[in-house]
Subunit: 409 residues, 2 copies
């Protein structure tokens, strides 16, 4: 179905070995070496509205692909649409450029906490499988319009209802080869949804770890749909049938386990729920009773919802204070004006300073989004076998200073 132009051979190479991985910061917290999965030290997250691209969490299912010659790269847009395309990187860069500040969050963020209740499967993550960047690129809705699909289409004349993103990333064989995912056509063709084909991250060329030369960014949605190293966009009648769309990244109730799971019974996760975490101080640090501490962290909601309030307790939930929500970064972006009416795709950083604590104590954060959704108190209530979307109240403990533990200082 692709036009003759689409026949050009792709030059983006998925690799089968880990011998050509990019250099990475030694400060990352590595949760798995091959494939490389690493998160940011939490204190780095709360120290800057935009997360440095080298420190941004890295979530992979295979080796990082390589593009030996950028001039040979073409993005194929094909499937159930009127006008299949093959687009060079230069052409994509010639389209109107949008810069969208958006938080990406792995559905597995805070999985390790969930595993403490009952073991779940998947890479362990602390509370930093999340980050915010200014993504620059073309709007997917504009590219689909060039391919003959109007804005706000929910179906094409050729019966296409889903937009599949296919990477050249080579996942493990049992996971079906190339990483792929899909979103509904209406989401993809809605210019207000700000889905990008991004070639820039924080004003720099997207690096290999984050999808060079081109990646999808689906704001407000779990990171798994923001496919990196994208090679092909396919408009399909059905949603993506790949492993990560159909047999992973779905939410099950606590009573479902590996012996009674029915993957077909649930929809693929999209929007993530309201979430927050304490980034500083670190869990378990020693604080002298009566001392004051400064608390820092993030709060975020999916689907374009903003954060209405952030509540903090330093007495394990007996009383609550409101954190100060820091001003959000406004990026004066091409074609975009600052506007509080538009969807909110990025986190709110918060702080609460000079809080007197009686140690030992448990510090809790919970947030409320603009739709008045709240986080659940108890991780057990949302336990699920894949350990996804843990947005229960985030807790850290501050230890008391005992003579015998002075060495911890």
């Amino acid at each position: 179905m692709a036009s003759s132009g689409a026949a050009k051979e792709l030059q983006l190479q998925g690799l089968r070995t880990y011998e050509q991985e990019p250099r990475r910061s030694a400060s990352l917290i590595v949760n798995s070496q091959e494939p490389f999965n690493a998160e940011t030290p939490a204190s780095v997250l709360s120290s800057s509205y935009l997360t440095d691209e080298d420190m941004f969490y890295k979530r992979n299912h295979g080796p990082i692909p390589i593009l030996p010659d950028p001039s040979t790269y073409n993005l194929i847009v094909t499937g159930a649409l009127p006008n299949p395309l093959s687009l060079s990187l230069d052409f994509l860069k010639s389209l109107p450029k949008y810069t969208v500040v958006a938080t990406l969050q792995c559905a597995g963020n805070r999985r390790t906490e969930m595993s403490k209740v009952r073991k779940v499967r998947g890479v362990g993550w602390g509370a930093a499988a999340i980050g915010t960047a200014a993504w620059g690129g073309a709007k997917l809705s504009d590219v689909l319009k060039l391919a003959g699909v109007d804005h706000f289409s929910n179906v094409t004349a050729e019966k296409g209802r889903h937009v599949e993103f296919v990477s050249c990333d080579l996942c493990k064989e049992e996971n079906g080869g190339a990483y792929k995912a899909s979103i509904p056509l209406l989401h993809a063709t809605n210019p207000e949804a700000d889905v990008l084909l991004a070639y820039e991250m924080n004003g720099k060329v997207l690096n290999r770890d984050h999808g060079y030369p081109l990646r999808v960014v689906v704001p407000g949605v779990i990171g798994a749909r923001s496919v990196k190293w994208i090679e092909r966009i396919i408009i399909s009648e059905r949603e993506c049938q790949g492993f990560f769309q159909q047999k992973d990244y779905k939410m099950f109730p606590p009573r479902v386990d590996w012996d009674n799971i029915d993957w077909q019974s649930r929809r693929p996760l999209m929007d993530f729920p309201v979430q927050s975490a304490i980034c500083e101080p670190q869990d378990g640090v020693v604080v002298k009773s009566g001392d004051a501490v400064d608390l820092y962290g993030y709060a975020v909601a999916g689907g374009g919802r903003g954060i209405e309030r952030v509540d903090i307790s330093v007495d394990n939930g007996k009383s609550w204070m409101e954190a100060h929500r820091l001003p959000k970064l406004q990026v004066g972006s091409d074609g975009y004006e600052d506007d509080s009416q538009r969807p909110d795709w990025a986190w709110t950083l918060w702080e609460l300073k000079n809080v007197n604590v009686e140690t030992p104590c448990t510090v809790i954060v919970k947030a409320v989004d603009t739709a008045a959704n709240v986080q659940p108190a108890d991780v057990g209530d949302i336990w699920n076998l894949r350990g996804v979307l843990n947005n229960s109240w985030h807790k850290i403990t501050l230890q008391a200073q005992h003579p015998s533990s002075m060495s911890k200082l």
Copy 2:
């Protein structure tokens, strides 16, 4: 700023007495007589996807207005826009008609449960200040387009950013006279948001209790913004400064009470959070231990989010079963096709039949929306002085059958 056509005198009359109230069903549960506030018996809600208009909850702040002569009615569209309008009912009916199945919910739904934790101010409501209807009318976005404001506008050339709906409803003097509310311009001009100027409810002419001749329906948003008996639409630079937008229907944390409230510190509520309730059996009914019961209820989320799952426990939360979500009503509406990609504005009714119970017991329902938001377990965590948006786990008790309580049967 209104055109000369707008000078025509309005004939919709706000009344100062309760002598001309409409006749109402004796089956309604009346929470306040003047103004008339009443809810549906819960078992009626779960027995029909669309709520009968006579049984639909009624939430008022004053006497029901009257329109002696429909031919004299005009809707005024004015303020910061290029082309002020005065529109007759016949003209509004000549515009493309949309039928939107939408659930309206009072922000005070389930307030009475919240008051049991600590007294809140406001009319007491059980779990039935909610209902679903097929609303028929013109799209607000189409009317605003006629007034010179394009679809998807967030600001007009005249600096309008908010759309205020002014009723002729005469509220108590201390509440500032005519009931009014506003929504952001982008919401109003977004045709996908399905905001209606409705003249029909369930295929019939809107009745007086529900806003005859014309009301606003803002799907996915607390009922307070769906202004009845609308007389005037004003595009403004600021959001509505009326009592019910600025000094009511806002969400405060539990530590804020009437002696330390700062109304300016919070935004007016819009989207409501994920919610569910058990409609049948009734709280407190007697069931013989070991007997089977059939459970029925509703689940709904604001902002166009659907319901992903409904969980039921009959042992006070120790174990959970999944309720069966009933098919949603599809209204083959003018200009609309059924489409799961579109926002979901209406509730999901659910049932769980033949459940063996050991009485006495507590039955709980909680729902998960399509953004994986969940309801909070504890109403105390979301307590607020106005008792709004109580979406904590809904509980009923089933009493045991004791010889001494046989008379309860």
